[in-house]
Symmetry: C2
Subunit: 194 residues, 2 copies
């Protein structure tokens, strides 16, 4: 639980009183690998904080699951568009390992916004940070080849390589598993000869 306080404190100081208000609303959830957190069509009513394990957001297109993002320990995750708009989510969520989460719901957060003056600042910075991260993802689709996107992933997010099956990484990169396999083969060859 102190992980969350530390996370929020990095944005703005959290007093003991404020933390009491927040922590008293936190619920904990431990679920095994492959458990579903949110199904497409449901309204997302919760924001999760990953303590242990890993959450995946994905969309289904042409019957295939396409991974939007992976969230590891010490990060917040939600189908935030659905959460904010209260519209049915196009995104689904599940966990790829045995996972422990803290979470709070829409009403909790409304309460925080009303009762904790600095929580507006926290909410803003969290949204800003999400925006910055996803902006980089758009940039990578616009300016980088799949091969470069993969090498960037290797250097910037090694955890993804270590903990997520390759066919899911392929969908995250916007390519087929077969194509990613070829990219890896090609890179291995280059590395050996160069």
């Amino acid at each position: 639980m102190q992980q969350i306080r530390a996370y929020l404190s990095a944005i703005t100081p959290v007093s003991d009183g404020d933390w009491e208000k927040i922590s008293s609303h936190l619920k904990i959830l431990s679920i095994p690998k492959n458990s579903v957190l949110l199904k497409e069509g449901q309204v997302c009513n919760d924001v999760y904080f990953v303590v242990k394990g890993l959450v995946r957001l994905y969309v289904v297109a042409d019957g295939k699951q396409i991974c939007r993002q992976f969230f590891f320990e010490n990060s917040f995750v939600s189908a935030y568009d659905s959460f904010l708009s209260k519209q049915p989510s196009k995104t689904s969520a599940d966990v790829l390992e045995d996972t422990t989460l803290y979470y709070f719901n829409h009403a909790d957060i409304q309460y925080f916004y009303e009762q904790i003056p600095t929580f507006q600042l926290i909410g803003r910075v969290l949204a800003e940070n999400m925006f910055i991260k996803i902006s980089e993802r758009v940039n990578s689709f616009l300016t980088e080849s799949p091969e470069l996107r993969y090498t960037q992933l290797v250097t910037n997010r090694p955890k993804v390589l270590q903990r997520i099956p390759q066919y899911m990484i392929a969908s995250y990169l916007g390519i087929t598993p077969e194509h990613l396999s070829r990219i890896r083969k090609k890179m291995a060859g280059n590395k050996a000869s160069g």
Copy 2:
């Protein structure tokens, strides 16, 4: 200027006193077609509101300009990642028509956050909305073909078609101008025969 007040009031009520504080910091800028607003490598220090005309954000890759987004009348625009982080921007900005803008800088916004309690809420909602919009763009790259991305653009953002040259739209969709031309030809054919 009332456009801005209306825009913000749609998020949360803006009192006369708050509006006085905000509007007294607004600066206006009228610039001709093709003027540069921000060059790659500069730190973005301003947030603009488009009164008339149209702003383009783009990145340069392999010597080519690739359009990230277009902003028409009645919208806020900034290289927001650079603005927030105060790091040199990878994104450039210019105007594609004679354009009139209101703008305020980083210090102005800090002042708003400190002096106007509800401005934190406004900043949060603006960031949330930007996040939701760009999320849809990521989704479109992950799940849609270039042809579908184009047809979606035709139906959802006709202004883009009307006011922006085709080769820029192509880069926005992540394809070459030649390919977009072929997509259009194919669609015109389908329409005639279907």
